[in-house]
């Protein structure tokens, strides 16, 4: 609760503050201060087991250690993003304060999406999370690609919102007991689904699949991620996507859990398609930014295994995956933003020019590949354990690891460029890098390795 209130209030503060901030760098410090405050408040809520202000919610939101830990991870990742790329957010345009305000609103949306207990709060969370994103995507106003991406995202997003609402209506009306929005009271039964409920379930599934950019509703993702300013791509591909997943898993665990037999095969097919499309397309990309967009689809495929299985491993796994994937991707994007050339050749000879950037980028890439000692391995391990434990579709697990092997191909292409190729381009790149930036990168890489060795640093919080 603390996080929701603070992020919402701070968003408004940032928005109106824009009129008063004299210097361009002031909003960044305010934003960082606000986030630190939100993190402290949120941790305090985990610690004290109750929010600072008691508000009667009628059980519409649910604050368990599990949900709150997820919010902590999201806030910490955003903080890292601000610290690493605060200066790059300032470079996007003139309305710096508004960008930060919008990010705070997104965080508020993510927090609601992680804690909702009724279909209405789910809708609220998803909308609060989506609308600021449409604006952020188009924030590079003079760039045609940015404009196109924003429009595309907005139109597609609106459709998916419509489908989401329609699905909610079907589920509400078709419920076997009294009509209800509370996800724990939705009763699908264990037998064959009535038509109304089946349609509702499929509509909600489509809407959620769209939000997490899984196949076959992933077409918006590469264009939007590519068109948006790179800092915001980093934010969308990690934190927002994780928010989508946590909402997804909550919905399917609490509301549709009893009918798992009915929808599991659908999720299995979606997972397989997402893994295949994401990985195969990523192989052929020349631009690292676009490759990371497809790789984020591929990683979403792995996260979908959690929804496929929905068990203890899956829930722990999705948290680990959020942390592992977000840290590595934010780190990689932070490095990418500093490069003048976004193609893979742009990374040629990075090891010689910037050894710190090179080694941290390598750790992030190894983590995304899922090599042991990195957080990515633990995350993948939990996902695979979840899916194998479910025991129904073992082929999917084998398929997933084969796709992970494909992902090694494109991640290692960047490592090859960094270490084994010479920089032949005539352009001499100017590096806008401070010692603080390097230190932060090292800290991020250190976190990746610590989680890789002791995932309990996160998992213990889930059962605080």
């Amino acid at each position: 609760m603390n996080a929701i209130i603070l992020t919402a209030v701070w968003g408004i503060v940032m928005m109106f503050g824009g009129a008063f901030f004299k210097q361009k760098s002031t909003p960044k410090y305010w934003a960082i201060a606000g986030l630190i405050l939100a993190i402290i408040a949120n941790c305090a809520e985990v610690y004290m087991q109750k929010p600072m202000v008691a508000i009667e919610l009628k059980g519409m939101l649910d604050f368990t250690s599990f949900n709150l830990t997820f919010i902590t991870i999201v806030l910490v990742c955003t903080l890292l993003l601000f610290l690493l790329n605060g200066r790059d957010i300032e470079k996007v345009g003139n309305n710096v304060s508004e960008y930060f305000a919008l990010i705070f609103f997104v965080l508020c949306g993510v927090s609601i999406a992680a804690t909702y207990n009724t279909l209405l709060t789910l809708f609220l969370g998803i909308e609060i999370l989506s609308i600021p994103l449409y604006i952020l995507t188009g924030s590079d106003k003079r760039n045609l690609k940015s404009n196109e991406a924003a429009l595309k995202y907005f139109l597609m997003g609106s459709f998916s919102t419509g489908i989401l609402l329609m699905g909610i209506a079907f589920i509400y009306g078709g419920n076997t007991g009294t009509p209800t929005f509370y996800i724990n009271n939705i009763n699908l039964g264990t037998g064959k689904l009535p038509v109304m409920l089946a349609i509702g379930l499929v509509f909600l599934l489509i809407a959620m699949v769209f939000k997490v950019s899984a196949a076959p509703f992933h077409f918006w993702a590469p264009d939007v991620y590519d068109g948006a300013p790179t800092v915001f791509t980093s934010f969308m591909a990690t934190i927002v996507k994780a928010g989508g997943f946590i909402a997804f898993i909550r919905l399917f665990e609490h509301a549709f859990g009893t009918a798992q037999q009915q929808w599991q095969i659908l999720i299995a097919i979606i997972t397989a398609a997402t893994l295949l499309i994401g990985n195969l397309t990523a192989v052929f990309q020349q631009s690292v930014k676009r490759m990371l967009a497809y790789s984020s689809i591929a990683q979403a495929g792995f996260m979908l295994l959690a929804i496929f299985a929905i068990n203890q491993f899956a829930k722990e796994g999705i948290i680990l995956y959020t942390a592992a994937y977000s840290l590595a991707t934010i780190g990689l994007f932070a490095i990418l933003i500093k490069m003048s050339d976004y193609t893979i050749d742009g990374f040629n000879g990075l090891a010689k020019q910037q050894p710190v950037l090179a080694i941290t980028a390598t750790i992030f890439l190894l983590s995304l590949t899922g090599v042991p000692l990195t957080a990515g391995f633990q995350a993948k391990l939990f996902m695979l354990m979840a899916a194998v434990n479910d025991g129904r579709q073992i082929w999917l697990v084998v398929f997933a690891v084969l796709c992970a092997a494909i992902s090694a191909y494109y991640y290692f292409k960047i490592i090859q460029a960094i270490y084994f190729k010479e920089n032949t381009s005539a352009v001499n790149q100017q590096w806008d890098i401070t010692p603080a930036f390097k230190t932060l990168l090292i800290i991020t890489a250190g976190l990746v390795i610590i989680i890789g060795i002791w995932p309990s640093v996160i998992i213990d919080w889930l059962y605080y």
Binding site: V371, P372, L373, V388, L402, A405, A408, Y409, Y419, F420
Partner: protein
């Protein structure tokens, strides 16, 4: 809960090379780096010898260690030195100082990274041979590859990047399939309990839990292949061998020595330590298939070795043939054969490193390794030639050399299994004689040509490295009993599971 935190031999064997490797990155001068690497690897060797002495003389408390690492999923940092572990850690410990001595004069750019990564590889290899927890085993299994990937891609030949990449993708795919297998068995294991009987985690990754898992014949059948493919790629067994000649050819010599001398043993080790005891039913079902694959590999690789003009490729194919014989014998699950495999794993490592050292010396001096361009080196470098002839004899497994004992026992095992298969495999000995002796004859004897007139005798440190190998060849050829004693417990343990 108080956990044992005393320092044991396995600790030192894993963490000393690891720390030494990390320190190496910070040295600036090439000479310091090389002496430090040599020094630390000699210490590791002493520790390894010490552990063998200790095992023979005292109680076994210093050889195992268990730390509850990821308690809630039942994974632990659990390491132990049994017979097979001792012989393979000894091989790892001997190889690195020999390699460092032999390549002391080779120049590498960024010497500190090169030697640092080599020491990290050593740590990873030690971990693989010592782990008695499936997750830990997987950890080290993957970690041993990463430094090798960087070593080969950075310091290798012209086509190094593609060759290494192929190698990496192959092994990574194999390991991921094995990971699925590990997870599946993990979920079949019993719950772990503490001393009071309280359940700590629902399942366990510990090796004895894995051995005890109740798997039906059907489950074993498909799990067998998930594991076997990972190991077969590493060994490599025909038809998973295609990465090997390219990688050996393109890697810098020191790395090739590590790869062929020690790293291929990971695959054999994996089969003996994990695959055989876990899937006895599946092994009984698929043994003939695997043995036939291996024997095809033996004959095929031997024939290809005869055709090779590049010394490195010749040795690479010869290695595929030798490893094929070991893998065929393992799957016969006969006592005498397995004992032979145990000592042959050690001896093959020694012999092949010897061969690579000779090739490295020729290539460093003359800049070529084409058999057709070399001739009459014996006139210029008699010491080198004598050493090579001994190592060559060991490669053909002549009596008095180390390989004879092992190969004799392995063929005995194969004959017990099936006479026809053994006969076909025996052809490999004749073929080995053909390619080894032809190579010796062409390269070392005959007239000195324009290129080889520049050849000089090898220097003292190189003579030392080769002498160690030659002494080891004769020692274990004439008196192999200590090696048998070392591995007896492992072999007996496995055979009993098949009765």
């Amino acid at each position: 809960m108080d956990q044992d935190i005393s320092i044991t031999f396995p600790h030192v064997l894993i963490f000393f090379p690891l720390v030494a490797g990390l320190i190496t990155f910070f040295f600036k001068k090439d000479a310091t780096v090389k002496s430090w690497a040599l020094f630390s690897s000699v210490i590791t060797l002493c520790v390894s010898l010490g552990s063998i002495y200790y095992a023979n003389n005292k109680a076994l408390s210093g050889l195992t260690f268990n730390y509850e690492w990821l308690k809630y999923i039942g994974a632990s940092f659990s390491v132990s030195l049994d017979g097979m572990g001792r012989i393979l850690t000894l091989l790892t410990a001997i190889s690195f100082p020999v390699i460092f001595v032999a390549t002391y004069k080779s120049q590498y750019k960024n010497t500190n990274s090169f030697y640092g990564l080599l020491l990290l590889t050593q740590a990873g290899l030690m971990g693989v041979f010592l782990a008695s927890d499936a997750l830990l085993f997987y950890f080290f299994w993957e970690l041993a590859i990463i430094p090798v990937y960087f070593l080969c891609s950075k310091w290798g030949g012209d086509k190094r990047i593609q060759a290494t990449f192929k190698f990496f993708i192959y092994t990574f795919t194999g390991s991921l399939l094995m990971l699925v297998g590990i997870i599946y068995i993990y979920l079949q294991t019993a719950a772990t309990q503490d001393a009071t009987g309280k359940i700590i985690s629902a399942h366990s990754f510990a090796i004895n839990y894995f051995y005890a898992a109740q798997l039906t014949a059907d489950q074993q059948s498909w799990l067998f292949w998930l594991f076997f493919i990972a190991f077969a790629i590493k060994m490599p067994v025909f038809p998973f061998h295609t990465w090997q000649p390219d990688t050996y050819e393109q890697s810098p010599s020191a790395v090739t020595m590590v790869l062929s001398g020690v790293m291929v043993k990971m695959g054999l080790f994996g089969v003996v330590r994990w695959l055989l005891p876990m899937f006895p039913l599946a092994v009984a079902k698929f043994d003939t298939t695997v043995i036939i694959l291996s024997v095809i590999g033996i004959v095929y690789a031997s024939l290809l070795a005869i055709k090779q003009d590049d010394l490195k490729r010749l040795v690479a194919y010869s290695s595929i043939a030798h490893i094929g014989l070991m893998s065929a014998t393992i799957f016969t699950t006969k006592q005498i054969g397995l004992e032979g495999v145990m000592i042959q794993m050690f001896n093959h490592g020694i012999n092949i490193i010897g061969l690579w050292i000779v090739i490295e010396m020729i290539e460093r001096q003359l800049g070529v390794r084409k058999i057709s361009q070399l001739s009459g080196i014996a006139h210029k470098a008699p010491v080198l030639t004598i050493m090579l002839v001994v190592i060559g004899f060991a490669n053909i497994a002549l009596p008095l050399t180390n390989a004879f004992v092992g190969e004799f026992m392995m063929f005995s095992g194969l004959f017990q299994f099936n006479g026809w298969i053994a006969t076909v495999a025996l052809v490999s000995i004749i073929l080995a004689a053909v390619y080894t002796l032809t190579m010796v004859q062409k390269v070392f004897y005959g007239q000195v040509n324009a290129l080889t007139t520049n050849m000089k005798e090898i220097s003292v440190n190189e003579q030392v490295a080769l002498s160690i190998i030659v002494v080891a060849i004769f020692l274990s050829g004439i008196y192999p009993q200590p090696l048998f004693d070392l591995t007896k417990d492992t072999v007996t343990g496995i055979i009993t599971r098949f009765k």
